[in-house]
């Protein structure tokens, strides 16, 4: 096994195309668990943690560009006013140690049905920016997530950033689990009440093969909780039953509406 540590994005993309079997690693909070337990032995690791272009976030006109290497701690601190649901979700991830190290790019790379950054980003209509030596493309997050732990990234591509045009709508994120820290969601929900577009937007996590967006006109508020619960495709697993997950989504949607559309 080898560790490749590029210093620039160009170098990283070149290494990515030369070593398509190498696993990208940034914060390592998912990858190291695999390595520590010998669940996987990738031929090489492509260490992205030294690439300045992937870090931090910027604003281009009305659009925010969140670098793939943006940590949850940075989301919590910097994005509270512009992307409040993402900031709230970031606060529920793991623990301070995990939030200091885990990144948005890593959450997208893993594409877990329980990935906590995904519902808030879906609600805000985010796009994933992918790059390879051939150039760059943008994929709506809804299309990027294709299945449990599967996404639309190609073997020669890297996730470079997430682009969002903040709606400014009232929004929130909620998560059900056995305690307030260190919890993989049993079910989660991000919701916004977008008065400008006259739309309710919700996205659930841990209640289907991928986190998914559900929308309705603002006027259909009364039936929205039921609509979200119906749209979910939950399964029974060690963390909860499908019936419980549907129930939880009904409760979470009702509470989120009280917070955002009162």
């Amino acid at each position: 096994m080898d560790v490749l540590t590029p210093r620039t994005l160009d170098e990283a993309l070149r290494l990515r195309s030369e070593h398509p079997d190498a696993w990208p690693i940034d914060g390592g909070t998912d990858v190291l668990v695999e390595l520590n337990f010998d669940r996987a032995r990738p031929p090489a690791l492509l260490n992205l943690s030294e690439i300045r272009e992937l870090k931090g976030w910027s604003r281009e006109n009305g659009t925010l560009r969140l670098g793939a290497g943006l940590t949850y701690t940075q989301c919590r601190q910097d994005l509270r006013d512009v992307l409040p649901a993402l900031a709230e979700a970031s606060r529920t991830v793991g623990s301070p140690q995990i939030q200091n190290r885990g990144t948005l790019g890593g959450n997208l790379g893993t594409s877990s049905p329980a990935g906590d950054s995904l519902p808030p980003l879906l609600v805000e209509g985010a796009e994933v920016e992918l790059a390879s030596v051939r150039g760059e493309r943008r994929v709506p997050l809804e299309e990027f997530l294709v299945g449990p732990k599967r996404n639309a990234m190609l073997a020669n591509e890297l996730i470079v950033a997430v682009r969002v045009s903040p709606s400014g709508a009232r929004q929130t994120f909620m998560k059900v689990g056995p305690r307030n820290a260190m919890v993989i969601a049993v079910a989660s929900l991000a919701l916004s009440a977008d008065r400008e577009r006259g739309e309710l937007r919700a996205a659930y996590g841990s209640a289907g093969p991928v986190p998914k967006l559900v929308t309705a006109p603002l006027a259909e508020r009364a039936s929205f909780a039921e609509r979200v619960a119906e749209a979910a495709q939950p399964i029974d697993d060690v963390r909860g039953t499908a019936v419980y997950r549907r129930h939880a989504l009904r409760v979470l949607t009702t509470r989120a509406l009280e917070r955002c559309a009162a």
Binding site: T29, V33, F37, R41, N47, S95, Q97, R101
Partner: protein, 152 residues
Amino acid sequence: MRITLTVNGEEREADVWAGESLLFALRERLGLPGSKNACEQGECGSCSVLLDGVLVCACLVLAAQAEGHEVVTVEGLGSDGRLHAVQEAFVQTGAVQCGFCTPGLVVATADLLARRPDPSEDEIREALSGNLCRCTGYAKIFDAVRLAAGAA
């Protein structure tokens, strides 16, 4: 592969396997067993160290990622043979039972108090939420944090 990093203020070199964690390198290659190895999956916090001043689980950092960076472990907190104020407070309040969680909690507490010298009860709970004590000595651990905050 060989890595060079700064550990507790000293430049160190280590020969590491590409897939090994910083925790393994600290304990097995650099002779620093203070950071404990319990879960190896980020759940318990007993391996907590500061990487470039940021609190992380050493078990989730690739040793090779620490190349050129600065690590502070529990061994590096005190100075001149004297305990750090947080360590002193853990001793005074009896916050140590088996002691396995203690190094991680000490580092996490030192990190909290450096950022927030006078934390609220909720801030303490949130800051230490990634550190488990299986002896469930949390009440005394909280006493230690408050004592250290008062002493700082």
